[in-house]
């Protein structure tokens, strides 16, 4: 995984497999203490304590098709390399929260990557799931809520709308990043 957008897609797949109906994705950056918090919260099936303990183990997976499960271990690796930490909270039947903290002043902190591109693919491929994406840098904030898009009758089915929504997300993300002149993080 070379950027946060890839991790986002990957971790959200876990929520989808847990049968989540609502998935909240957050990117919260705090320039004062130089941290970037990447958080995925779902209302899926959740895990018991034993399973949560095994998550960091690359040889643990619930799949039977292969013997490795690298999604969470990769996330743990990249945030720890950037001086951060990974925590997972989960309760059986209630859902899970995966939270990775990166130090933005660390040279190994991951770039954001194509967040907009991955988000629209997620929304399009899972129309029955309620997604809420929040990107906040200090006080500047952008929220994309799939229910709001539905209310406005935005249909991602059509490729031209897919491109339009992508542009909408990108434009807004760029705007809040431009208020933050110290960083040129957004790779697009």
């Amino acid at each position: 995984m070379i950027d946060l957008a890839m991790h986002m897609m990957d971790i959200v797949q876990n929520s989808l497999r847990a049968g989540a109906g609502k998935i909240e994705i957050e990117l919260l950056e705090n320039s004062r203490d130089h941290t970037l918090q990447f958080r995925v919260k779902d209302d899926g099936s959740g895990m018991d304590g034993e399973t949560v303990k095994k998550l960091g183990d690359p040889f643990f997976t619930t799949r039977t098709i292969r013997k490795v499960g690298l999604g969470v271990p990769f996330l743990k690796m990249t945030c720890e390399q950037a001086g951060g930490a990974l925590s997972v909270f989960s309760e059986e039947g209630a859902g899970s929260v995966v939270e990775a903290v990166y130090r933005t002043d660390h040279p190994d902190c991951l770039p954001l990557g194509d967040i907009a591109g991955y988000l629209v693919l997620l929304l399009r491929a899972n129309p029955e799931v309620h997604f809420r994406f929040t990107c906040r840098i200090d006080k500047a904030e952008f929220i994309l809520d799939s229910d709001v898009l539905k209310e406005q009758q935005i249909e991602l089915e059509h490729p031209q709308m897919l491109a339009a929504v992508k542009e909408y997300i990108r434009g807004n993300l760029r705007e809040i990043y431009e208020k933050q002149p110290s960083r040129g993080f957004l790779c697009m």
Partner: protein, 129 residues
């Protein structure tokens, strides 16, 4: 339109698109459509499945092929990612491995349009006892 910044801009765009879409009605029966499933697990994402999926969505539309493009999990062929499963109407699903945009182009032109097989097929229909 230059720049889409607000929900209102999006809505305006949607109206434009809807008008054009009504000219080309979508088939109701999903079995009559080509189904494209792009494997999007850790292995797929790391090998560039997103670019492949975007390519299929855009190109199938441009080439006027009615298709459903969606995501699936890992099919166990991590060595051959990105992998794509294609189901033509009335045919068995076929899995292609090592798909980049060039391969995806060949799959659309030769397999989806003509039904010819192209390189990179992963045999998956072995029945075990």
């Amino acid at each position: 339109m230059d720049g889409i910044k607000t929900l209102a801009d999006l809505k305006k765009k949607q109206e434009e698109v809807r008008y054009r879409m009504s000219l080309r009605d979508r088939a109701e029966d999903p079995d009559s459509l080509v189904q494209v499933k792009v494997a999007m697990a850790t292995c797929g994402i790391a090998s560039g499945a997103k670019e492949v999926m975007e390519f299929f969505i855009e190109e199938l539309d441009k080439r006027k092929i009615d298709a459903v493009v969606t995501q699936t999990g890992c099919m166990g062929y991590c060595f051959a990612e990105p992998t794509v499963e294609i189901t033509l109407p009335g045919r068995e699903p076929m899995v292609f491995g090592y798909v980049d945009t060039r391969k995806a182009d060949a799959i659309i032109e030769r397999y989806i349009k003509e039904g010819e097989l192209v390189d990179g097929i992963i045999p998956r229909n072995y029945n075990t006892i």
